[in-house]
Assembly symmetry: C2
């Protein structure tokens, strides 16, 4: 499957978040062409400010594998990770991170010029960026 | 109770981590002079790279209060938060953060000159710094 196809799976997760009134960000983790974790924001549902899609996906993938590092795996997330999630991605030593739309307000790039990720982690941004960003715009517009 | 007394409680948590072979960092969260959360690193136990003391303490405190923000609470942690935990502390909007020893290798200050915390969060560093750092030194020495 291509990056676009996997990002579409992350977008489905983001839509699941939207549908339950959570900030619509979704993530999946892929290992050897298999999706081993799916998650979306559950901050409101769990009353937990740390329950972002990426953190939940990492925890799920590590539980599944019984491993605390994910060097062979790729995480797809619809929006540029925040500082917390970039740190979580650092610790999990993901092989590759692919994000959809940039986030100038809360993305990690606002805070740091140094890559927060593991030195071996590959990074790709901008996959289905418009669709990923549009879902966020629609969500916050509905809140106003 | 004083900052030193509360930090000693966080140090007890760090010792609990040490005793089960986890990186010895401990945290507590205090609200109105009551400890509402205690946690220590459980990365190895849970096989979860996101299971740092601060993240676990925030999740516990939010569960306890049924609230996703902690503006009236103070978190004590034995070591300067990493990037992930500084982001978690940002999202939880803690009233005050008190840490023990600085961490030049993994602390958030390595990555950013901008405060990652909520603008209203007060920050104090250096409480029982030597004891907090010594526990880490003893741990990593035992690993060599």
């Amino acid at each position: 499957m291509t990056d676009e196809q996997y990002m579409r799976q992350a977008l489905r997760e983001a839509q699941n978040a939207f549908d339950i009134d959570e900030v619509p960000i979704g993530a999946i983790i892929v290992l050897k062409d298999k999706i081993i974790a799916r998650a979306h924001n559950q901050v409101e549902l769990l009353n937990d400010p740390t329950a972002h899609a990426e953190v939940l996906a990492i925890t799920t993938a590590c539980n599944y594998l019984g491993a605390k590092y994910l060097p062979e795996a790729t995480l797809y997330v619809t929006i540029e990770p925040c500082l917390m999630c970039s740190g979580a991605l650092h610790w999990s030593k993901l092989g590759r991170i692919v994000y959809g739309a940039p986030d100038d307000k809360n993305g990690y790039r606002k805070y740091t010029n140094i890559s927060p990720f593991h030195p071996k982690t590959q990074l790709t941004g901008g996959i289905l960026a418009e669709e990923c960003a549009q879902l966020m715009k629609d969500f916050f517009k509905s809140k106003r």
